[in-house]
Chain length 767, copies 2
C-alpha cells in the first residue's frame, strides 16, 4: 500500500533547491510592467483624469483608464460555471471601475517598460473624483438612505438566506420549564490570507490567443472569467498555472488575470505583468468576511439543547465575489454540528459596504460560524455549570446525520472518537478540575471546539474532475491532473493514489504540477477541500483504466488474455503469482513494437454526486496573564476525523499550517480601517500573523475511519484544521477566567477592557 505512507513531498526537491518555477520565473524577458492606479477614496465616482504628467514619464507605454475598458460586467468568484443563469455568480465589476466601491479600487493602469517608471507615472495620474461617504458596516449599508453601491441592488443586500430546522420553535423552548437561556452578540473581523507568494499574473498573445500565466488555484475558471470579461470565446484564453506559493482562497478569486489579459491586447500582444505589492494584496484583494451575529440558545438544566437562533450579517465589502455563498455556508455549520431538540433558526444577510471585498478563505465561512457556535456552546455549558465536553457529547451530531436541506450525509463518523482522543491527549478531565478555582494574576484554562466540514461542494455546485496518464518507454507514468497543487501537497497525494491504482512504486509516477487549460484535463481547481476526495477519485479511475490497458498489452505480448493479471510494484504477475513481465517492458514494447505500437494513455472524468462530512475537534490549553491581558497558548491539539489519511506526515503538516492560521485568527489578526474605510495596517509589520515564537508545539491526531464514498476512504482535510482553533482558545479563556469574550482577535487591549469590566484588574480587582 502506497496510500497511507508518509512519502516525502514530490515537489520537495524542486522547492528546496529553488528549481521549482513560479510565475515570476516564466514571464517573458521583456515583459512590460503594469501598475494599477487605485482610488484614493472608498466610495465615489471618477469624473475624469489628468494624465499629462503621467504620460510625460519616460518609458511609459500606455495609460488606460476606466473609460477605456469594455462595457462588460463580470464575476470574480472561483465557482464552476452554472448552466442555470439564476445560479451564476454576480457580475458586478468591470476591468477598471468608474464607480468606486472600495478604497484602492482599480480605476486606471499605467503600462511601462519597467516597474519604476510604471509606479512613478501611476503616482502622477490625477483622477477627478466625486467622493461619497464611506459605508463601513452592513447595518449602515442596510439603512434606507444608504447610497447603493451597485444600482442592481438598491438596498445593498447581496443575499439573504434563512432556514429552520426542527418541529418546534424557539418560543416553545423558552416556555419550557427548567431551562437555561443564553444570548449574545458576537463579532469576527476581516482578516487576510497572507499567502507567501504575492498576486502575480503575466499575459501575452500568441497569434489571437491570449496566454495568461498566473498564480491561481483555479486555472480553468480563470480562463472562463477572462473570456467573460473580455467578451471573447473562452478557449481564446490559455491559462497556465505553474508552482504557486499559497492561496488559501484568495486565489480562488479571479483577481488580476482579466485585467492582465486585456492589457496585452492593448499593446499588440506584448507581454504585460501585474504584480501586486504586499500592501495591495492585504488591502485590495479579498478578505475573510467580517460577521456580526446575534444569537440565543436554550437548554434544559440537564444539558439537552432545545433551540437556537442565529441572525448574522456578513460584511461583503465592495464587490460580491463569493459573498452570497459564504454566509450560507457559515450558517449551515450550526445545524451540521448540533441537534436542537425543538428548533434552530438561522437568518443571514450578506451586505455590500465600502470595506475591501470579502471572498473565499480557508474554511469558507465555517471558521466564523464555528467561532460563534462554539462560543455560544461554552457560554451555555457555563451557564448550566456543565462540562462543555459532556454538553457536546450529549448534543452533537450523530453518525448517519443527513442535512435536511441538501442531503449531505455523514457517511462515516468519528467525531465521538476524535473528542475522546483529544480529551485524553490534553488530559482534559484532570485539567478542567485542576483549573477550576484559580485566583492570582496568571491563570490557566482548557477549552475545546468541534466542527464538521463537507468534503466538496456538491450539491451546491458542480463537482467534476478529470485526469490523464501517459505510460513512458521506461515504465514510468506521467500524471496530469486538472486539480491544482497550491502548496498543500495535492500533487504528492495524487502521486500516491496513481501509484496505488496502477500498481507502481511512487518513484515511477511523475505528476505534472503545471496546469495549462489548453491541454490539461478539465477541473475546477483547489477549493472546498475537494481535491483528495473528488479529484482523487478521477485519479484512481484513470489509474485503473491505465492499468487495464497495460495488462491488456502485456497479455498480447504473451499471447494470452488479461484476466488474472495484476501489477505490483511495477511487475506484472499472472494468476499463479508468477512474474510475467515488467511495466517497463510493456512501456518499451508498446512504444517500439514493429507490429503493434501503441501509445498507452488513459483519461477519465469523475462526475461526483457524493459528499461526506469530515469532523474534528480542537483542544487548547492556555495561560492568561491578567494584568498584561496576554494569552499564552501552551498546547494546541487538533484531532481530525478525515477518514483514511493518505500521507500522515503531509496531513500533519497541513494541520500545523491550519492551526497556525487559526491561532492568528484567535489572538492577533485583524484588518483595521479608519472611518473612510481606508486600511490602516495593510502590511506585515502592522498586521500580525503568528511567528514561530508565538506558536506552541502543534499536536495532531487522526481518527482514521474509512469513508465509503471516497476513493481511498479519505475526507476533507485541507481547510478543517483552521476552523476550531479560535473558539477553543476563547473557550479556554472562559475556563481560566470565567469571562466570555465574544469577538476576535483576543488582543491584550481587548482583554484588559474585559478584565477591568469584570473587576479582575485595578480598583475592582478581586484577586
Amino acid at each position: 500500500m502506497t496510500v497511507g505512507q508518509s512519502i516525502p513531498r514530490v515537489d520537495a526537491h524542486a522547492k528546496v533547491t529553488g528549481t521549482a518555477q513560479y510565475v515570476g520565473d516564466l514571464e517573458p524577458h521583456d515583459a512590460y510592467f503594469a501598475k494599477i492606479v487605485r482610488a484614493p477614496v472608498a466610495n465615489g465616482l471618477v469624473r475624469g483624469f489628468d494624465l499629462t504628467a503621467a504620460q510625460a514619464v519616460p518609458n511609459v507605454v500606455r495609460i488606460l483608464t476606466c473609460f477605456d475598458v469594455p462595457d462588460i460586467q463580470f464575476p470574480t468568484a472561483g465557482h464552476p460555471w452554472s448552466l442555470d443563469p439564476g445560479h451564476q455568480d454576480i457580475s458586478d465589476r468591470k476591468l477598471l471601475n468608474q464607480r468606486i466601491r472600495v478604497w484602492g479600487d482599480e480605476i486606471a493602469v499605467v503600462i511601462a517598460r519597467d516597474r519604476v517608471s510604471a509606479e512613478r507615472a501611476a503616482r502622477l495620474v490625477v483622477p477627478d473624483i466625486e467622493a461619497y461617504p464611506a459605508i463601513s458596516t452592513p447595518q449602515e449599508a442596510m439603512q434606507p438612505d444608504a447610497i447603493p453601491l451597485h444600482e442592481e441592488r438598491p438596498n445593498n443586500i447581496v443575499a439573504r438566506t434563512e432556514f429552520h430546522v426542527g418541529d418546534g420553535s424557539f418560543a416553545q423552548a423558552v416556555d419550557t420549564p427548567n431551562t437555561v437561556m443564553v444570548s449574545g452578540h458576537y463579532h469576527v473581523p476581516a482578516v487576510q490570507h497572507c499567502h507567501m507568494e504575492l498576486v502575480h499574473s503575466v499575459a501575452y498573445m500568441e497569434g489571437d490567443k491570449i496566454v495568461v500565466i498566473s498564480s491561481t488555484q483555479i486555472p480553468h475558471i480563470v480562463r472562463r472569467v477572462c473570456g467573460q470579461a473580455l467578451g471573447i470565446p473562452w478557449s481564446k484564453v490559455r491559462v497556465i498555472k505553474p508552482y504557486i506559493g499559497g492561496g488559501f482562497g484568495n486565489k480562488q478569486d479571479v483577481l488580476v488575470e482579466p485585467l492582465t489579459a486585456w492589457l496585452t491586447t492593448q499593446v499588440g500582444g506584448h507581454a504585460v505583468k501585474v504584480e501586486l505589492t504586499r500592501e495591495e494584496v492585504l488591502g485590495c484583494t479579498r478578505t475573510r468576511h467580517a460577521f456580526d451575529w446575534d444569537v440565543q440558545a436554550v437548554a434544559t438544566a440537564d444539558g439537552t439543547l432545545l433551540a437556537r437562533t442565529y441572525r448574522g450579517f456578513a460584511n461583503q465589502g465592495g464587490y460580491a465575489s463569493h459573498g452570497h455563498a459564504i454566509a450560507a455556508n457559515a450558517s449551515n455549520v450550526f445545524k451540521q454540528c448540533y441537534r436542537d431538540r425543538l428548533s434552530l433558526d438561522s437568518e443571514s444577510f450578506t451586505v455590500y459596504t465600502n470595506r475591501p471585498t470579502a471572498g473565499a478563505m480557508r474554511g469558507y465561512g465555517i471558521p466564523q460560524g464555528c467561532f460563534v457556535m462554539e462560543a455560544l456552546t461554552d457560554d451555555l455549558a457555563y451557564a448550566l455549570h456543565m462540562d462543555p465536553l459532556e454538553f457536546r457529547l450529549k448534543n452533537c451530531v450523530e453518525a448517519g446525520y443527513v442535512d435536511p436541506h441538501n442531503g449531505i450525509t455523514m457517511h462515516s463518523y468519528g467525531l465521538d472518537q476524535a473528542i475522546a482522543k483529544g480529551r485524553a491527549a490534553i488530559d482534559w478531565d484532570r485539567k478542567r478540575a485542576a483549573y477550576q478555582d484559580q485566583t492570582g494574576p496568571v491563570r490557566r484554562g482548557v477549552g475545546m471546539a468541534i466542527f464538521t466540514y463537507k468534503s466538496n461542494v456538491h450539491p451546491f455546485s458542480l463537482e467534476t474532475a478529470s485526469c490523464r496518464m501517459v505510460l513512458h518507454e521506461d515504465g514510468r507514468v506521467s500524471v496530469q491532473m486538472g486539480a491544482t497543487e497550491i502548496g498543500q501537497g495535492a500533487d504528492t497525494v495524487f502521486t500516491q493514489m496513481a501509484a496505488e491504482s496502477i500498481g507502481l512504486p511512487v518513484s515511477h509516477i511523475d505528476i505534472q504540477s503545471t496546469q495549462d487549460t489548453d491541454i490539461t484535463p478539465f477541473d475546477t481547481g483547489a477549493y472546498g477541500s475537494r481535491q483528495t476526495y473528488v479529484c482523487g477519485t478521477a485519479c484512481k479511475l484513470t489509474g485503473q483504466s491505465l492499468r487495464a490497458k497495460i495488462l491488456e498489452y502485456a497479455a498480447s505480448m504473451h499471447a494470452r488474455g488479461a484476466e488474472g493479471l495484476t501489477i505490483r510494484d511495477g511487475i506484472i504477475y499472472d494468476e499463479a503469482d508468477q512474474q510475467l513481465c515488467t511495466v517497463a517492458e510493456v512501456g518499451m514494447e508498446s512504444s517500439y513494437s514493429r507490429t503493434h505500437s501503441l501509445h498507452i494513455t488513459a483519461e477519465e472524468t469523475y462526475h461526483c454526486e457524493q459528499n461526506s462530512f469530515a469532523t474534528g475537534v480542537c483542544f487548547a490549553e492556555i495561560e492568561v496573564d491578567i494584568p498584561l491581558g496576554q494569552i499564552h497558548v501552551l498546547r494546541l491539539v487538533n484531532v481530525h476525523d478525515s477518514g483514511k489519511i493518505i500521507n500522515p506526515k503531509l496531513a500533519e503538516a497541513q494541520c500545523h499550517g491550519g492551526m497556525s492560521m487559526g491561532l492568528g485568527y484567535a489572538l492577533s489578526e485583524e484588518l483595521l480601517f479608519d472611518d473612510a474605510c481606508r486600511p490602516l495596517n495593510a502590511n506585515l509589520l502592522d498586521y500580525k500573523i503568528p511567528t514561530a515564537m508565538d506558536t506552541p508545539d502543534l499536536e495532531v491526531h487522526f481518527v482514521e475511519i474509512e469513508d465509503p464514498t471516497a476513493p481511498y476512504g479519505n475526507k476533507a482535510l485541507g481547510e478543517p484544521p483552521t476552523i476550531p482553533v479560535a473558539a477553543a482558545v476563547r473557550n479556554a479563556l472562559l475556563h481560566a477566567t470565567g469571562i466570555s469574550v465574544n469577538s476576535l482577535p483576543l488582543t491584550p487591549q481587548k482583554l484588559i477592557e474585559h478584565f477591568r469590566e469584570a473587576g479582575l484588574l485595578g480598583g475592582n480587582r478581586h484577586v
Copy 2:
C-alpha cells in the same frame, strides 16, 4: 472540404507579429552560458588541459573536460529506437571526446554567468593534444594503413550495402550487340542546411528531472538519447520543443541536447544554455554527405536501358550519425526510378573520415543519388542521340512498382502525368529543338530530372504516430500532435485534417505547436516526409474518435441514439438533415452538466505499416555565359506527384523552399576544407546560398492522384522539391554546351576549366 483549401498558415499571425516563442524566448532569466571548447585539429588525442588561465576569468562557474564526462557512448541519429540491438544506431561518441575525430570536436566546455566570460575563458583553455594526420576522403580512410577513427571499426567502414536487381548481369548487357555504354565518375560535395535559427538548447532541473528546451525536429528521440547519454531512465528527461526556425535534417540529429542536459546536472540544476554560433553550426554540426560514384550504364540503340552499375563512397566524417542509412537510401533511388532490363548492381560504402560528421539533410541521400542517376541518364541519352525525356518515358518506373527488397509499392502513380505537365509548361519540345545547334558565347539549354521518394520510413524503421484532442466549453478543439512543426507548415495541414475529420471550421481548431515529451502524444518527429502521411492518419483517426464522442453526448442530450448524426461546420445534424444542436452546446453541456459532466477528449495511435512512392520531375531552362563560366537559371519548373494536396498554397511554398535549396546545391554551395580538414568557409559570407537575386520565379505544378493508403490521398512532399533540381540544371548545361559536368556545384571556376578543356574557350575556342 477543408482539406484541399489554401487556408493561411495557422502560425502566420504569431510569427509575423513576433509573438511566436522560440528556445531563446523560453530560457530562464538567469541561465548560464556554456561555451564549447573545440579541438584545433581534426584527428588526434587529448592528453590533458591547462585550465589555469581560463579558471581565472571572472564569472566562470565551472570548466568541464572530456575527462569528466560519463564513460558512455551514445548515438545521435534521429531514428526511432529499435528493440533489435542489431538495428540500433551506432553509439560512437561521448558527451565530450578525448579522441578527436573532427576539427572542432567537443573536448571541453566552460560554463559562465554570461556569454562573454564563457567565450573568453574558452579561448584560454589550453589543451595538450597529440595530433594525427587528417583523413579527408573515404578512399584514404579505407587504406590498410589508415588510422582507425573508432577502435570498433578498424577499417573505418561504417557500413557497406549492396544489391542486385534483374535476372541478367552487367556483363551480359555489355555483350549485347548494338548497345551503347557510358561510364563516369561523379562527385557531390558536403553542404550544410543553413536553417535560419541556430542550434540552441537550454536545460535545467526540476527536482531530479532534467528539462531540456531545444530547437529540434525530434523531441521524443532527443529525450531517449539524453537518457542514453547520461545513463538515466529516459523519462527523467523532459524535452520541450517550442516554435523552431528550420531544421532540414540537421535537427533530426541529437546535436547539443545531451551535453546541455548533463551540464545542468553539474551545476546543481541551474539553467545552462548552449547556443552555437553560425560558424559552429556550419562547421561542427552535420552536413549533407559528400559522395563519390563510379557508374556505368548500357542501353540498346533504341534507348532501352539494359543495365547499370553503381559503386559509391559516402564521406561520413568523424561520427556515424545517420550515415549507415543514407548511402543505402541514396542507392535505392536507382532501382526505384528506372527499369534495367537485365541488371542493376549497386555497392555503397559509408566511411569515417576527419571531415565534419555527415547526417540527415532534406532528401536523405536521394539528392545525391538523383544527381548521379540523372546525370548518367542524360549522358546515356546524349550518347544515344535521343531526347532524354523520351528515354525516361521509355525506361522509367511504372504504375504498381514494388521495390523487390522492401516491398514499398507505388500505390498511386503520376510520374507520367507529371512529366507531361512539365513538358508542356517549359515548352520542352520546342526548346529542345530551338537550342539544338547553338554557337556563340551565350547559349541556352533545357534539362530535366525525375525522382521517386517514399512517404515515410516503413519498413526500414518503426512508423508510429499519435494525437490527442480536447473539446473545450466553447466548442473549439485543442489538438496535440506528437509530430512537429519546424517551419514546414505541418501544424496547418494537421489543423485542416482535424477540422475535416471532426466536422468543424478550421477556426475552431487550436493546434498546440509545442511538444513536451512528458505529456505530448508519442511521435518520432519531423523527418522522412512522413508527417502528413503517417501523423496525418493519427490526426484523422483521433478526429473521428472525438467526433463519435461528441455525437454520442449530443445524442444523450436529446435522449436518442447517435446513429444518423453528422457534424458539418460545427453544427450537428440528424438523419433528416435538421439541426440538432451545435458542437459548442455539447462543449458547454458536457463541461457543466449537473447530471453527466464529461471531459470529452480523444487520443489515438496510428501504427503504420504502409508506404507509397511520391514522384516528380524538375525542368530547368538555363542560359550559360561561356566566357564567364556562369549559369543563369531562367526557369525552374517542378511538377510533383504527391497525391492529394492538403493546402495548395502551403505546398507551393514548400516547393519554393526546396527548389531554392536545390539551386544552391546546383550552383554555389560547397563546404571547403584544407588538407587538415579544417573548414575554410564555415560562414554565410563565404558559403554561398542563393539569394532572391539568384533565384528565378519558381514554378510549381501538381498532379493530384489520390493515394489510397494515405489519410487524405496525400503523399510525401516535404523533401522532394530539393531532389531533382541540381541534376536538371546540370542536364540543361549538357543540352546547352554538350559538356557533361559530373560534380557539384557548377561554379564558374569549374565550368571555365571544363569549357577550356572542351575547347570552348581561349586558344582552342571553336566559337
